[in-house]
């Protein structure tokens, strides 16, 4: 059963993926692949909007880390939007996500950060 949905938008080389529902061991890997597929090689980077995400567990957090690794390998930037009041923020705080992923508090901030990131080559 589908417990999460993603919505993909793009503007000015910035891909915005909004994720709703729940992310756990049952769907984390499929979601990561879908998000990677939604991000073209020539995009500056990705903003993952978790504002309306109802639940995330360690498998979902692992998704965020691997997503960061995948994008970094392609020279792209990742920002994860987690407002402090959002339902998923507790789990992310408990797991200490901020130490490993660039987290921002609102969507526009994430879009600006990615838009300003210069394409990298490594």
């Amino acid at each position: 059963m589908n417990i999460a949905d993603i919505q993909i938008r793009g503007r000015d080389g910035v891909v915005v993926v909004s994720i709703t529902g729940e992310v756990d061991m049952s769907n984390a890997n499929d979601l990561r692949e879908a998000i990677i597929d939604a991000t073209p090689n020539d995009a500056l980077g990705l903003v993952l909007d978790c504002t309306s995400l109802a639940y995330i567990d360690s498998a979902g957090i692992h998704l965020l880390y691997r997503l960061g690794d995948n994008l970094r390998a392609r020279g792209q930037t990742l920002r994860v939007v987690i407002p402090p009041t959002s339902p998923a923020s507790d789990a992310l705080r408990l797991a200490g996500v901020q130490r490993h992923v660039d987290v921002v508090g609102e969507l526009e901030e994430g879009v600006r950060a990615v838009a300003m990131s210069a394409p990298k080559t490594d």
């Binding site: 059963m1 109802a54 360690s58 408990l94 797991a95």
Partner: protein, 561 residues
């Protein structure tokens, strides 16, 4: 009937090889006094009560008695092959057993059928008889008449004697009376069997379109019934839909019309509603989408329906109806008809809308959806019978009992004029000690979190503790699933209890997750993070590896807010 007159006019002419030909189908000859008893026996009203097999048996027996013949038989026309097929016989039963077939126009019976004439053969010659069995048995004299219904030939009735004998006008009259009795009986039985066939087809279709098994989870009980109408299949359906994130969709509907077409249309609407519901659309939008679907079908179709979505965690029940009778909620010893604003029937009006209303379905309460077949009574207002149903349902102890009571008290013993469906769903209390036996599959995680959250809420836990405990339990379950190595279907158990706190109803939540796999040291970042989450979300965390498996015990005090 011009045809028959032509035949009659020809009858005077002797026909080569067929001996004396008698015919007067139109005006039966008066029977002599001694025949009255036999005639009465042939027109016995009690025969109308019999099924076709019994009727044919009884009539052939009586014909044999009345005419003192050795054999009496009925052959019916197979319109596909234009052959007469032996259907029933008394005296020489082998005819039927061997499925004798006689082409139209050939032999004794074939000539009777082709010419729609009565034929008498005082001395049968081998060349006259197509049927080999009659030849073998040594039939000497025969008399036969056509079986005709509304100017359609349907078969032949004939009698035979093993000794040479003369059949007179009175014998013909008896045989014609029997034929007049038999023919409509056969026709009725054929029509009935054609209807029966359609009925069975529709029933089969109907059955195959209704859900095979209803989803059952902790905290939810569902029961349903579908009863076809006395004579016809209708277009009623129900559905119980497992929606994402622990919610449950409950649907019922009624396609206007009867028979195979209504049943097929029902199947399409049920599928459409199921698919839209699964997309996550709410009750109102789901019904509106089904309405557009019906409108787009390009043929006249109309249906009424109710779609409700229940969230067990919040107890919220959202309902939209499209021209359908209102749902009923059963509380303890009381049932109330919901005051819903009905929307337009599906397919009824262009751009029909279905307003959505929200109700609360508290623990132990049951919501009941039903179709009008259950509440329609000639001469009684629908509102009155719906109240009557509510009063019957108020005695229900469970969804199953509700369905049982509804059928028992609302359906008359003669059956239903219209088909009916009922589906009942109860939000059942979560036991104080929660014990779940779960398959080691990641897909169970979401539902398990739902149940645990509801249990925690019912035991006084509030945010953020509630979410943190659910998260920690989820991590331990994910661990159990990940190291379930056994090749067969593996499972694990979750147990949740409250320690102490009898007075305040608040104490310490103890959650134990046990599996039969070997504990695996955290591998990579991922599993280590799971443990980090458990440790920071719970007050205590204990890992107990054993020979039989692994047990994780964790505790968290629920503080009064």
């Amino acid at each position: 009937m011009a045809d028959e007159e032509d035949e009659i006019s020809e009858m005077g002419r002797p026909q080569v090889g067929f001996g004396q030909i008698l015919l007067d189908v139109a005006s039966p000859v008066l029977a002599p006094a001694e025949q009255v008893r036999h005639l009465y026996r042939l027109s016995d009203p009690a025969l109308s009560e019999l099924g076709l097999e019994e009727l044919l048996d009884a009539l052939l027996e009586r014909v044999r008695d009345a005419l003192s013949v050795d054999t009496a038989a009925i052959l019916l026309l197979d319109t596909d092959t234009q052959e007469l097929v032996a259907r029933s016989a008394k005296g020489i039963e082998e005819e039927v057993e061997q499925g004798v077939r006689v082409p139209l126009g050939v032999g004794f019976a074939g000539r009777i059928a082709a010419g729609r004439i009565a034929i008498f053969m005082p001395e049968v010659s081998a060349a006259d008889i197509h049927n080999p069995i009659l030849r073998e048995k040594g039939i000497r004299s025969m008399l036969g008449v056509p079986l005709i219904v509304e100017s359609e030939l349907i078969g032949v009735l004939h009698v035979g004697s093993l000794t040479p004998r003369q059949f007179g006008q009175k014998d013909l009259a008896v045989l014609q009376l029997a034929a007049a009795r038999i023919a409509p009986g056969i026709e009725r039985a054929r029509l009935f069997s054609a209807l029966e066939h359609e009925h069975r087809t529709a029933m089969l279709l109907q059955r195959s379109l209704l859900p095979r098994a209803l989803p059952e989870t902790v905290g939810i009980k569902v029961a349903a019934r579908y009863l076809p109408a006395r004579d016809e299949v209708g277009g009623d359906w129900y559905d119980v839909i497992d929606l994402p994130r622990g919610r449950i969709g409950l649907a019922i509907g009624d396609v206007v019309g009867h028979g195979v077409r209504a049943a097929a249309l029902m199947g399409q609407l049920r599928t459409a509603l199921h698919a839209y519901a699964h997309e996550g659309h709410g009750p109102s939008h789901t019904l509106e989408l089904v309405d557009r679907f019906v409108q787009s079908m390009g043929e006249y179709a109309m249906a009424t329906a109710v779609y409700a979505v229940f969230d067990p965690e919040t107890a919220r029940l959202r309902i939209a109806t499209a021209g359908h009778p209102p749902p009923i909620i059963i509380s303890e010893r009381h049932a109330r008809v919901l005051d819903v604003t009905p929307g337009a029937p599906l397919g009824g009006f262009p751009y029909g809308s279905c307003p959505e209303q929200e109700f609360t379905l508290n623990t132990s309460e049951t919501v009941v959806l039903y179709t009008d077949g259950l509440v329609e009574r000639r001469g009684i207002a629908l509102t009155e019978t719906i109240e009557q149903l509510a009063s019957v349902l108020s005695r229900a102890r469970s969804p199953e009992h509700a369905c049982q009571l509804a059928v028992q008290e609302m359906v008359s013993p003669e059956g239903l004029a219209d088909d009916m469906a009922i589906v009942a769903m109860q939000s059942t209390p979560i036991p104080d000690v929660l014990h779940l036996d779960l398959p080691a599959d990641p897909s169970v995680l979401s539902g398990t979190r739902r149940i645990l959250r509801r249990w925690l809420r019912e035991h006084g836990a509030e945010e953020p503790v509630l979410s943190e405990v659910a998260l920690a339990a989820n991590e331990a379950c994910a661990n159990a699933i990940e190291h379930a190595y056994s090749p067969g279907p593996a499972s694990f158990q979750l147990r949740a209890t409250i320690e102490g706190g009898e007075e305040t109803n608040l104490g310490t939540v103890v959650i134990t997750i046990s599996d039969t796999g070997q504990w695996r040291e955290p591998r990579g970042e991922n599993r280590g993070r799971g443990l980090t989450i458990i440790e920071s979300a719970m007050d205590e965390f204990e890992l107990k590896p054993s020979d039989s498996g692994t047990e994780v015990v964790m505790r968290r005090r629920i503080e009064p807010q």
